[in-house]
């Protein structure tokens, strides 16, 4: 059956590319100052750090670490201190996770803002198309019966019993809607709150979020949530049958065992 419109498929893959580049360029930007704070400013004479990924001197050479509030985890080789043998260096995220692989804040920013504009453009196109073609109302907004089905749906996901229907199940609706209407807009808002230009246009924006440095911390935290979504998304695609899922997201056609649109009477 025909499951995904061209709008849905094109914007899906545009996001895949866009979010990949936003992630790896964002990690490059983070590496320029690998600490997160709460409030308007970054404390040097006082401590308002919530997270730091850095290197420090250890008994047997440099040690990479992640510190969240007062808890420290040693992460040498991956976070804080990494690189090829003999060429290890202090850097928050390792070379394989950033673009460029070496330290280059200027290029990281150019890539980040280019794809930030691409993300906003794709979201707008998707929003207009999905409102007009009914994807939004039909597939994403949870209805009463979705909420009623939620406990059963959670149980079925936990026991990995996945149905192949045209329609999204409740957890699918909630996670897609959560990404598209909560996480991505929050990512854009927290990003704008870090812009000194935008702060002049809207003084209230960073204040609303608890200060510019809190906005930066939230921007990072939402990145982690999006990454979690990505991992679960890929696992579910693999669990549900990657060939069929990929076919529907590339060509639009999806194989199912239910009679076509049998119960659908919108």
């Amino acid at each position: 059956m025909y499951r995904q419109s061209a709008w849905t498929r094109v914007t899906h893959w545009a996001w895949a590319v866009t979010l990949f580049f936003l992630l790896v360029s964002g990690l490059q930007i983070f590496n320029a100052h690998p600490a997160l704070y709460i409030g308007d400013q970054s404390g040097t004479a006082f401590d308002n750090t919530v997270l730091r990924i850095d290197a420090r001197r250890g008994a047997e050479g440099p040690v990479g670490y992640v510190r969240i509030f007062d808890r420290e985890i040693e992460t040498t080789g991956v976070l804080g201190y990494s690189g090829a043998a003999g060429r290890m260096e202090a850097r928050a995220f390792p070379g394989w996770a950033t673009i460029p692989s070496f330290r280059d804040l200027g290029t990281g920013r150019i890539i980040h803002f280019f794809f930030a504009w691409a993300l906003v453009g794709t979201l707008l196109i998707w929003l207009v198309a999905s409102s007009l073609n009914g994807h939004l109302k039909r597939d994403l907004v949870p209805r009463l019966r979705d909420w009623r089905a939620l406990p059963r749906d959670i149980w079925e996901h936990l026991s990995l019993r996945l149905h192949h229907r045209r329609k999204y199940n409740t957890l699918q609706k909630l996670s897609y809607a959560g990404v598209l209407f909560v996480l991505l807009p929050l990512m854009i808002i927290t990003g704008l709150a870090m812009s000194p230009g935008m702060n002049a246009a809207a003084n209230w924006l960073p204040e609303l979020l608890g200060g510019r440095q809190t906005a930066r911390t939230l921007h990072f935290a939402i990145m982690v949530l999006l990454l979690l979504f990505f991992v679960v998304h890929i696992l579910m695609v693999l669990a549900a049958g990657p060939i069929n899922e990929m076919r529907s997201m590339v060509t639009g056609w999806y194989k199912t065992r239910e009679p076509e649109e049998a119960e659908e009477t919108i």
Partner: protein, 263 residues
């Protein structure tokens, strides 16, 4: 009712393929970092001009950056970049407590100016408590006192063809075979005439310290820290900034940062 379709092989291949993309993808794209990369230049041109135009529309001419209260000044202003210029002429000026210092306003003006530090201090001043946002990601709140740049521009009478203000600095950032590289910066006339754009000589009610740009630095509160040149000795009005440095409009712009730093 269909059942679990997880295929172990499919799972492993998929996971390996995606992590392989992640692992090798970034190295493969390092070419973008080259300053002459056409991909890089195209992305910069599109994104930076979109941000510039969008913010010029959204901000208007005089929208003010947020100002804070005295209680928000919780620490000394964090210095960055050059913090102790070693040039002989700078050291000599500093040794004389900048008594021989002159700030010049030149270029596309009817009446070029040359002002001493005392003359600057005698002019009407503006004081503002603002948040300094570094391109690296950190922020620091401090109180700045100085002469609005617009006042000097009015005194010098800017010619109509002037489109940018270039700030010339005293600090040598690099010594190369081709000669010394000194810091410079540039902004458009909108930011130059913005009410909060001041040539600051005071920081947190004290004389501006050397590490923060003594005797004079500029505050451009709607952009990032690297635009706010320190150790300024010359303000030049120009139609374009191609002939300075490497032509990018600033020391860091010549090294790959965006000219418009409002993001």
């Amino acid at each position: 009712m269909s059942h679990l379709q997880i295929s172990r092989r499919g799972f492993i291949t998929g996971a390996a393929a995606s992590s392989g993309l992640l692992l090798s993808g970034c190295d493969a794209l390092d070419g973008i970092a080259q300053r002459d990369s056409s991909v890089r230049n195209t992305m910069e041109k599109i994104a930076n001009s979109l941000s510039y135009r969008a913010q010029r529309v959204l901000l208007g001419r005089n929208a003010l950056a947020q100002e804070f209260s005295a209680a928000d000044i919780r620490q000394p202003m964090r210095p960055n970049g050059t913090t102790a210029p070693q040039n002989e002429d700078y050291l000599r000026l500093a040794a004389g407590n900048f008594a021989d210092y002159r700030l010049t306003v030149t270029g596309l003006v009817e009446r070029p100016l040359s002002l001493s530090r005392a003359q600057l201090i005698a002019m009407p001043a503006r004081t503002q408590i603002t948040r300094h946002d570094c391109v690296e990601g950190w922020s620091c709140i401090a109180k700045w006192t100085g002469v609005p740049l617009a006042t000097l521009l009015d005194q010098a009478v800017v010619k109509a063809e002037a489109r940018y203000v270039v700030f010339h600095c005293l600090d040598t950032v690099e010594r190369t075979i081709a000669g010394d590289v000194t810091y410079y910066e540039s902004v458009d006339m909108v930011d130059a005439r913005h009410p909060q754009t001041i040539l600051a000589y005071g920081l947190n009610d004290q004389a501006l310290p050397v590490e923060n740009g003594a005797p004079v630095r500029v505050r451009i509160e709607r952009q990032l820290g690297y635009k706010m040149a320190k150790y300024i000795h010359g303000v030049e009005l120009v139609a374009d900034f191609d002939r300075f440095g490497l032509g990018g409009g600033g020391y860091w712009e010549d090294r790959g940062y965006e000219w418009y730093a409002g993001v």
